[in-house]
Subunit: 374 residues, 2 copies
């Protein structure tokens, strides 16, 4: 089948859905790969590398492709140009993007939303949320280390000892654990909190201290946390306040795809932080864990500089794209039948869960309901 690689057009998007290394694998599996010239440029992959890997340049990759791969979902005018029966693979935030889902349905396109790949063991290698969270988690500690005007590690010198930085991480999913690991590597004292009981052990296994609050834990499905009552949230903020006031660097990573991020830290709590302290809010795009954070900007709250993340994986587009591309290659492997042709098996839990639209129907039940369909 013919697989197309799109050049991203969304502002700030530097990744590419398939990197040259992935093209090599797909060509070896018998697929035909076409790419828009410049598709990998922002992620540091040259057109020459795509050609060497066996992909063909095309000015219009949409009209005769079997599978169109992109990072961001295609614009609606491009969706309308896709042949009926073709497949798209991309991130697709269905709850916030009903109009686009309707366009995909009407174009009779089979649209896979990377966010909807189930979080089961067998799908780990296809989990783009995890692979991109890994990049974000590393990046937010590096950004924090750059903003903090202090050492991370303890330094014992001839002229005395410099104390290590105190880092607090809220949310210990993939991104949070990677943020913890990176801060520990750099020698900081790290404390972390997550509402899920299982997280405490993972936090400790990274060498960080788990903040234990006398509150019920909130395990949800797919490794994510459940939403909490406002009462519990209020009590949690009160109990976390002294930890945050003592931190040099606060990193917040509590986000659940498709939902508003929980407000973990109020402006009042940030105002208790010391002169020169730094806050990195990875959830700024989905409403923010920290009151006052702005996605893509650094703002001053009290005596702290507060950085709001905006498409953080695009700040490391080359490794982010490599991991994402491998996720997509693995998904394509699952969806390919004999003679390298597409064969969607909706009895497979992964295929069943990840496809939002197929053959003129919205398959994803919550989205179908949101669209007012029966």
């Amino acid at each position: 089948m013919r697989i197309a690689i799109v050049k991203e057009t969304a502002p700030g998007e530097a990744r590419v859905a398939l990197v040259p290394e992935a093209v090599t694998k797909l060509v070896r599996s018998g697929h035909d790969v076409v790419y828009e010239p410049g598709a990998g440029q922002a992620a540091e992959f040259a057109d020459a590398e795509y050609e060497q890997a066996g992909a063909q340049p095309r000015d219009d990759v949409l009209t005769d492709a079997d599978v169109v791969c992109s990072v961001q979902p295609l614009p609606i005018d491009q969706i309308r140009r896709l042949p009926a029966g073709s497949t798209t693979i991309s991130f697709l935030p269905v709850a916030q993007d009903l109009e686009r889902v309707a366009a995909l349905r009407d174009a009779k396109v089979s649209a896979l939303a990377l966010e909807l790949v189930p979080r089961i063991s067998r799908a780990q290698s296809m989990d783009a949320l995890s692979s991109q969270a890994l990049v974000s988690g590393y990046r937010c500690t590096v950004v924090g280390a750059g903003m903090l005007r202090k050492f991370f590690p303890l330094n014992m010198t001839a002229a005395g000892t410099v104390q290590p930085a105190e880092v607090v991480v809220l949310g210990a999913g993939v991104a949070g654990l990677q943020a913890i690991a990176t801060a520990k590597r750099l020698g900081a004292v790290v404390r972390a909190y997550d509402v899920r009981a299982a997280a405490a052990e993972e936090i400790r296994s990274m060498g960080a201290k788990s903040i234990e609050l006398e509150l019920e834990t909130l395990e949800g499905s797919g490794g994510y946390a459940r939403e909490m009552t406002e009462d519990r949230a209020q009590r949690q903020r009160e109990l976390l306040a002294p930890y945050i006031a003592a931190a040099d660097l606060l990193i917040t990573t509590a986000a659940v795809p498709g939902r508003q991020a929980p407000l973990l830290v109020t402006r009042e709590m940030v105002e208790q932080m010391k002169e020169g302290s730094v806050v990195v809010d990875l959830a700024a795009e989905s409403g923010g864990n920290v009151e006052g954070s702005v996605a893509g900007e650094t703002v001053r709250v009290g005596r702290a500089d507060v950085w709001g993340g905006s498409n953080v994986p695009s700040q490391m587009p080359s490794p982010a794209s490599k991991l994402l591309a491998q996720n997509i290659v693995n998904l394509l492997g699952l969806m390919t039948g004999e003679e390298a042709a597409l064969a969607l098996d909706f009895d497979d839990e992964i295929v069943d869960g990840a496809f939002v639209t197929h053959d003129g129907v919205v398959r994803h039940a919550p989205t179908r309901e949101a669209l007012g369909e029966p």
Copy 2:
């Protein structure tokens, strides 16, 4: 005696010569400490902290102080206002600053240049070049990690392995070793080179690989390297070129105080680096180890972003000031006699080496010669 803390006026200087913690120690030793309001502000030390430590605010700290402490040397108009017989402690790049040395001599001021404190064991705790180099070395790796759009550590994920960053460090003095240590902590593969034979073992003790070139080594005095012939420099550049071409991040730290930094890396060598590579030149202020680097700016050379350091310790002013202040407290301890009065013993190697002027005479021989004095 009365010790004065000056508010720095040089652009970009965020440090302060004495921090509140140091004031506490000096007051306990029986000294009287005065400070200019706002002296510690840029380094995150409030006036209230100075007062709590026992220092008195003064609008004019110069006219009746016994010892005036500053990071940067005083402006000439301020030197002229110092009482004869008073002492100044600061950085003072004598070779580049003859006019100021003459003003200090004419004002009959005893001026200590922190750069001239001998690099002997007994003076380690007074070595401000080392303490500030420690800050710079850490900082330049953090800056490099922030600029590099890749992971430092190896990452083995469900979606495959991401290779660690390749970091090359040139110059393995205090700053270089700290840069190496920080890059190793963050998980990079680090290779380093220094012209001094003794450096190879220190490089390896940090867990980095020592680049061995078939060239004579150049041990100088005080732990610094000797200058090399242009022939050797040319051969060294040829041998280093393939290591630099393979690096994701190049950090150069080869500087000898008071001298032009050696040109280690030509523009041609940087042009061999990969798309997305990063160069951090800590020596940019003293001429640069890397051709084309500009102090205080990031410029593009070939496919690399080249960052030139400018007063790098001021990017971490709080820890840099703490270490510097402890160096100065230790120097003051050495220079204080009975009843907390200044007692300069020029028979002491440290005092003898560090004082540039005293009692109307330029004591530092090379500076005296440069001034055309007998």
